[in-house]
């Protein structure tokens, strides 16, 4: 499903401001706007009845992020019908919008990918690696942060962390493991 414009309505009043350079479990999503690969501006932070929003910091040139291309594409398709929106965010300075669009098309991504010029959002979220996932619930509260699963190769996945978090949210249950870590590529930030 191609989204020409995604607008998510703000939920409850904002919680305490996140610490500089990182967001924390339990905190509200601070709304932001970024351009997608077609040049449209996308509002992130306003709810349109989504059960959850999955923000994914990804890359076109990172072997780890690319190892998850199929899984990201599959998960986004599977959970779209369940009211979950997936949004990719590319913060790498050297990966152009054209490259991102071509990469998305070649891998069958049905989710929009936003270009985070100057890695502003990566800095706000405190994102360090690609891929790195942030899952917000229907009230725009951060409920899960970390990896997609525990095996880059996909051959020996024992813990499907993102799926488990989404299933818990959709069932109205607490996310069993709210934060995880995995190896990944550095986000190529602009020079300070």
């Amino acid at each position: 499903m191609r989204l020409s414009r995604l607008a998510l309505v703000l939920g409850l009043a904002a919680a305490a401001q996140p610490a500089p350079g990182a967001v924390a479990i339990g905190q509200k999503l601070q709304p932001f706007k970024l351009g997608d690969t077609s040049g449209q501006t996308v509002d992130v932070g306003a709810d349109q009845g989504r059960k959850a929003v999955v923000l994914m910091f990804i890359a076109t040139q990172c072997p780890v992020s690319n190892a998850y291309n199929e899984r990201m594409a599959a998960l986004s398709r599977e959970y779209a019908s369940k009211g979950v929106a997936f949004i990719g965010i590319n913060s790498n300075r050297q990966e152009s919008v054209e490259e991102i669009a071509a990469h998305a098309a070649s891998h069958g991504f049905s989710f929009p990918i936003l270009k985070d010029v100057g890695n502003v959002q990566a800095d706000h979220f405190g994102a360090q690696v690609t891929p790195e996932i942030y899952v917000y619930d229907s009230a725009s509260v951060l409920r899960y942060h970390g990896r997609i699963d525990d095996d880059r190769t996909g051959a020996n996945v024992k813990s499907q962390d993102l799926r488990r978090a989404l299933d818990a949210l959709l069932a109205g249950q607490p996310v069993p493991v709210a934060e995880t870590k995995a190896f990944g590529c550095t986000i190529k930030r602009v020079a300070q």
């Binding site: 040139q61 072997p63 780890v64 360090q128 690696v129 990896r147 525990d150 880059r152 190769t153 995880t180 870590k181 995995a182 190896f183 990944g184 590529c185 550095t186 986000i187 190529k188 930030r189």
Partner: protein
């Protein structure tokens, strides 16, 4: 002597998080630069020569290098190290859960590579450099480690 044996000899052995800790502890009394990297990581490969040069210049500092390459990429790792002959030991991460390794090495490490951690003579961390950092950042950290 087989090529496989020669290749395998270029690595300093497999380590889990505890093994990294032991490797660091073995250098107590010296500042230590721990580098965490992978052959698939372009910035890691790019900074490897400057790390080697720094290690050759700073004989007062211990350098410990740990590759997080997957076991199936071991041959690639061995060939990489054999071709460059770094002046510091290069360990391969032992098989095991990624997160346990990441948290076991340093709870503040996100899992990103390259990552460079600098310790003072007493083994206290003085800097955690996540992502690409130039040689000057390591040298600034070493200056703090010397205080």
């Amino acid at each position: 002597m087989s090529a496989a044996f020669l290749l395998a000899a270029v690595l300093a052995g497999e380590v889990d998080a505890s093994g990294v800790g032991r490797a660091l502890a073995s250098h107590r009394g010296h500042p230590v630069v721990l580098t965490l990297w992978a052959t698939w990581c372009e910035p890691c490969v790019k900074e490897f020569p400057s790390l080697m040069a720094l290690a050759r210049e700073r004989k007062d500092v211990a350098f410990v290098s740990v590759s997080i390459d997957e076991p199936e990429d071991r041959k690639t790792l061995e060939a990489f190290v054999a071709a460059r002959r770094p002046p510091f030991p290069v360990h391969a991460r032992a098989s095991g859960p990624d997160q346990a390794f990441i948290d076991g090495v340093d709870r503040d490490w996100s899992g990103v590579v390259p990552a460079t951690i600098v310790y003072d003579r007493e083994g206290r961390r003085v800097a955690l450099l996540q992502g690409e950092h130039g040689r000057s950042d390591i040298e600034k950290a070493l200056a703090r480690a010397a205080r």
